[in-house]
């Protein structure tokens, strides 16, 4: 007689007692191992955060503090030189981090909010409403973001708040597409149909089922948009249409009067750009890595709605008879 022997199944991993702590450590570990450049990006982003928050403590000079050293090249006293008004370039760059951070975060938060609002409602409600809204989104996206910004700036005028609002509007509508896509795919999932079948109200379905599942998508959009927002603010300030002087926006440091002196004091325009480039690169890398790591995780079932499928489906095995 034979006995039913199954091939060995690998043991199920023990459920961690401290879910959240180990999840973060797990995530960081994977980040460093699988996406080293993403880890570098994370460090850069953190550096930006620290510089921005603690600018007052880190910068040796004030952001508008003039000294008598006009246009002096990088030296011991002034690590990156001074500009035409005698201001320390290094300090201004550090304060610039704060600006990029503030404008970037605010604009992106707003933009993401619009994206979710527009995308989720459009996707969820569907029908005629969806069609019309999508045409509107098409039209909006047909105009390149920076041109849309210019149009809006000519309407709202320049200034810090205006810049934030303009950037958020220009970037926000585009993201709604992605959110809508995510909502649509979740809407067709069985558990949503089940919710509808047992009579859940639309609001309940939206909040309990759909929103938590698009969380990963939203985080992805957010990280992508931040570097875009920072670049856009820099571009607008460069054109003179963004933050007014004397704000040391990295973009602004390359424009206006600086252009008259840049041949004589190239460090004025060199360093802001390098820092901007590094920050954007770092954030992009980290965003890429984040996306990579979050996606499969979501499928694996981290979160309230995830379920782990059993490793083997044990079918009914008929005992074979030996002659």
């Amino acid at each position: 007689m034979t006995d039913v022997k199954l091939s060995k199944s690998s043991p199920d991993p023990a459920m961690p007692t401290d879910m959240r702590g180990s999840a973060i450590r797990d995530f960081l570990g994977r980040l460093v191992r699988e996406h080293p450049m993403g880890a570098a990006g994370l460090l850069i982003t953190l550096a930006l955060l620290i510089l921005g928050i603690f600018a007052d403590l880190i910068a040796p000079f004030g952001l508008n503090e003039t000294t008598s050293n006009f246009m002096s090249p990088p030296s011991g006293a002034h690590l990156l030189g001074t500009d035409n008004l005698g201001r320390d370039v290094f300090s201004r760059i550090i304060y610039g981090a704060r600006i990029s951070l503030v404008v970037g975060l605010c604009a992106t938060a707003l933009a993401t909010f619009y994206s979710v609002l527009l995308g989720a409602t459009s996707g969820f409600i569907g029908g005629r409403f969806d069609v019309i809204v999508q045409r509107f989104v098409d039209a909006w996206m047909a105009v390149p973001a920076i041109i849309m910004s210019l149009l809006l700036i000519s309407v709202f005028g320049t200034g810090t708040i205006q810049t934030i609002i303009v950037i958020s509007l220009a970037l926000g509508v585009g993201g709604s597409r992605i959110v809508r896509g995510a909502v649509l795919s979740i809407k067709s999932n069985a558990y949503v149909e089940a919710g509808v079948a047992i009579g859940c109200s639309n609001g309940r379905i939206l909040i309990r089922h759909i929103l938590p599942n698009i969380a990963a998508t939203v985080v992805t959009i957010f990280t992508l948009r931040i570097s875009e927002a920072i670049l856009m603010e820099a571009a607008l300030s460069f054109l003179g249409l963004g933050l007014p002087p004397p704000n040391p926006s990295w973009g602004a440091m390359l424009s206006g009067t600086a252009r008259n002196y840049m041949f004589l004091a190239p460090w004025m325009v060199l360093w802001p750009g390098i820092v901007l480039m590094t920050v954007v690169w770092g954030m992009n890398m980290f965003g890429d890595a984040l996306r990579d790591l979050l996606d499969p995780k979501l499928r694996g079932g981290v979160g309230r709605f995830g379920r782990r499928a059993p490793k083997h489906t044990e079918s009914e095995v008929e005992r074979s008879h030996a002659k």
Partner: protein, 338 residues
């Protein structure tokens, strides 16, 4: 390591002789020994079948013959693949290129995805002719039309301008056969040629292969998990399990009196038209082994109804059980009641 070499007794020429082929794949879960001491041979004009469940290494074995194993994960670890005596595992890539499509041709399972959607059928046919046999473009075109006609596609000369998606599944498979025949190879390897087709079409395609084989005196190696296919069209069968052959012999012998417990189980699991209708389907207990963690002795021991102590520690070698019929098993022949 004892080899499972099957000594050949025939006087016809041996087109292909695979000896103790070993191919593995490195994955995140371990090194998978897809082909683990595979040995068989194919003679001129023969149609040989390799039968086994999914995952037993049949396709990997076939791809190894043409050295089409993708390298970062895969590696042909050892053994010999003798094509008319020449060891293909040791020749240069240039020589290999010369052989592929020219002397040994391969037909794949899913013709729909195996044909390039943006190139005309005619071009895909003439490619090999131009590359291997020095045809000019116009000569190749003519020959392509002829080949299409040969495999039974009507209106061939017009059809060579069409794209693959304009043909049905069965016709696409015929096109693949035509592509394989283009340079009149000595051996055609058909990897699951009928799996993606409707039952009626399956028969047509196999008949076609059969006719062409007779006409052109080609050897054919059919790889399949479909026992029915094997029964009708194949001269000799190699039953494969976990990367190597466990039983081999002429088709009628294998079907009439299988001598390896696995073969017995396989054949028993095929429902019979003349059997009682209310009987449950019989399956072989257990699941195929994890190819990354193959056991020490016989790979089938864990599921074998006849397993003895010896089976888990020693690997059986091929021994003769009939004219040209061999098996690798320790269990006493007489005790096997069938």
């Amino acid at each position: 390591m004892p080899s499972n070499k099957v000594p050949s007794e025939d006087r016809r020429e041996t087109v292909l002789e695979v000896k103790d082929l070993r191919t593995s794949f490195r994955t995140s879960t371990g090194i998978i020994k897809a082909v683990n001491g595979l040995s068989y041979d194919v003679k001129t004009s023969e149609c040989v079948g390799i039968v086994g469940e999914s995952g037993c290494g049949k396709s990997a074995g076939a791809m190894s013959i043409l050295r089409l194993i993708p390298h970062p994960p895969g590696l042909i670890e050892g053994g010999e693949v003798l094509f008319f005596g020449e060891d293909l595992l040791k020749v240069t890539e240039k020589r290999m290129r010369n052989i592929r499509g020219n002397r040994i041709a391969m037909i794949f399972q899913d013709a729909t995805t195996s044909l390039n959607p943006v190139l005309t059928v005619g071009l895909q046919l003439s490619e090999s002719l131009e590359a291997h046999q020095g045809f000019s473009r116009s000569e190749a075109q003519q020959e392509s039309a002829r080949l299409l006609g040969l495999v039974g596609i009507p209106d061939a000369s017009k059809r060579i301008e069409d794209y693959p998606h304009q043909f049905s599944g069965g016709m696409q498979q015929r096109i693949m056969i035509a592509m394989a025949l283009a340079c009149t190879p000595d051996l055609i390897i058909a990897d699951e040629p009928t799996t993606a087709l409707d039952v009626t079409v399956q028969a047509q395609v196999l008949e076609l292969l059969q006719e062409l084989r007779a006409e052109l005196n080609m050897a054919v190696l059919i790889i399949t998990h479909n026992l029915g296919v094997v029964a009708r069209y194949v001269d000799r069968v190699n039953v494969m399990y976990a990367g190597s052959v466990v039983e081999t012999g002429p088709t009628d012998q294998i079907y009439a009196s299988p001598k390896h417990p696995y073969t017995i189980g396989l054949l028993a699991s095929v429902p019979r038209l003349d059997g009682p209708t209310r009987e449950n389907l019989r399956a072989i207990d257990g699941l195929p082994p994890d190819l990354a963690q193959l056991p020490e002795g016989c790979a089938f021991a864990a599921r074998c109804a006849y397993a003895m102590e010896r089976c888990s520690s020693e690997k059986p070698t091929m021994e003769k059980v009939g004219p040209e019929h061999f098996r690798a098993c320790f269990y006493d022949l007489e005790k096997l009641s069938r």
